[in-house]
Amino acid sequence: MRSRYLWSIIFFFLLLLFQTTILPIIAIKGVVPDLILILLVFYSMQLGQLSGTVLGFVYGFFFDVITGSLLGTTMLSLTIVGFVAGYFSNENKRDLYFNNYLFVLIVAMCSIINSAFNSFFASIDLNTSVVRLLLNQGIFPTLYTALISVLVVVFYPKRSFD
């Protein structure tokens, strides 16, 4: 179990490296899929709600300090994303979620939550409504992230617990 936590942190750094160096090449209109969010949803469903929440907080902290984002914003949004994704960590249904496109829907839902927080912080001191920003800027990143998360469904071992 402990090694799983360690791997989750190692994967985070590897994906962050990939996301900030290689992924911008395939950016569509300045939008890149959020690999960190996919990883967080995956581990929250694997490790449970409590671990997912803490992992979201840790991921958010590292993301904020490394990318120079306003410290605390990603921490807050990923903590909540980890908590929400953790609701789907039922041990009996885990395989069902990962081997099914339900995982993609869960990623899409979590991405919308993440975008909602981004829109909220963006609209704090402007005359722009959170809903309008979410519709303008939240939908495309959500679709792109959900599309990439299909890879998890495709490559997830089909008989991991047999």
């Binding site: 160096t21 939008v31 921490m75 807050l76 903590t79």
Partner: protein
């Protein structure tokens, strides 16, 4: 009593942890401008950028050949333009001599490579491979051949984080090049907008937007973008002007830092507005 707490923890531990972590996040959010927060950030991104630069270098090698031929073509075009501008420059300096105006403005620039990009919808940032050892300091403008990219936000010894124009925490005073109207430009999460522009101001679609000499951060005219529309705010007396930046933020790789802040005294004076958040 202990059993009660134990039961509460057992039944609600996920919620308790969630609330505690949210509170910690909010506290950290509130203490963003403290020097300790910036120090932690510069330590982490400096370390991370070492790894990112290895990947970035490897990726760029393949692109250099294509870029080289494009740059050679651009060089020729620029050479022709420079010779034309040189003529204007000579005329200009002669006229300035006649009027007794001294031209003292000269900005040293440092080339840099973008080693990583965070293209989030609200907080776009770049990490560039120049830092304090190259005399790069927070507040210095970063440009490329198309125009303004952003401002250096934090620096470690070898790397710096740049807040791009696509960052909600960056506001810049800009000017309409044609009508000379000033305004404050921000990223609203989906567009660059000049906010609170009185409806009576003369701004039209297609106008070029440059940085204003009123700016406390960038007091030189740098191209920013082009006006694409005026959002008529139904109530009130203000418009919101939408600006399309000249720079494509997902493609910028080679950038230049303009070293406008050269002394600490100047730094403190110039960055008053930048530091105040």
């Amino acid at each position: 009593m202990l059993r009660f707490f134990s039961d509460v923890w057992k039944n609600f531990k996920e919620y308790i942890v969630l609330v505690v972590l949210i509170v910690i996040s909010l506290i950290i959010l509130a203490s963003n401008q403290k020097p300790a927060a910036k120090k932690i950030s510069s330590t982490f991104f400096g370390t991370f950028a070492n790894f990112a630069s290895v990947i970035s270098d490897a990726l760029n090698i393949t692109k250099y050949k294509i870029e080289n031929s494009e740059l050679q073509k651009k060089n020729v075009e620029l050479m022709l333009e420079v010779s034309r501008l040189r003529q204007y420059g000579i005329e200009n300096s002669e006229l300035k001599d006649l009027l007794g105006i001294k031209d003292t403005i000269k900005y040293p620039i440092t080339p840099a490579l973008v080693v990583s990009k965070s293209l989030s919808s609200a907080q776009g940032t770049y990490t560039i491979n120049v830092g304090r050892s190259d005399s790069v300091r927070p507040g210095m403008p970063v440009i490329n051949e198309f125009g303004l990219i952003g401002i250096v936000y934090a620096s470690s010894s070898d790397y710096s984080i740049v807040r791009t124009l696509r960052n909600i925490d960056l506001s810049i005073t800009v000017k309409d090049e044609r009508s000379r109207v000033d305004g404050v430009m921000k990223w609203n999460g989906s567009n660059l907008v000049i906010i609170n522009v009185p409806k009576t101001y003369d701004i039209e679609s297609g106008d070029r937007i440059i940085t204003s000499d009123l700016s406390s951060i960038i007091a030189m005219p740098l191209p920013v973008g082009i006006v694409t529309g005026l959002n008529k705010v139904e109530t009130g007396i203000f418009n919101e002007v939408t600006v399309k930046p000249f720079v494509d933020f997902s493609k910028a790789e080679h950038v230049f830092v303009i070293k406008v802040v050269e002394s600490k005294e100047e730094d403190n004076l110039e960055l008053n507005f930048f530091n105040r958040k």
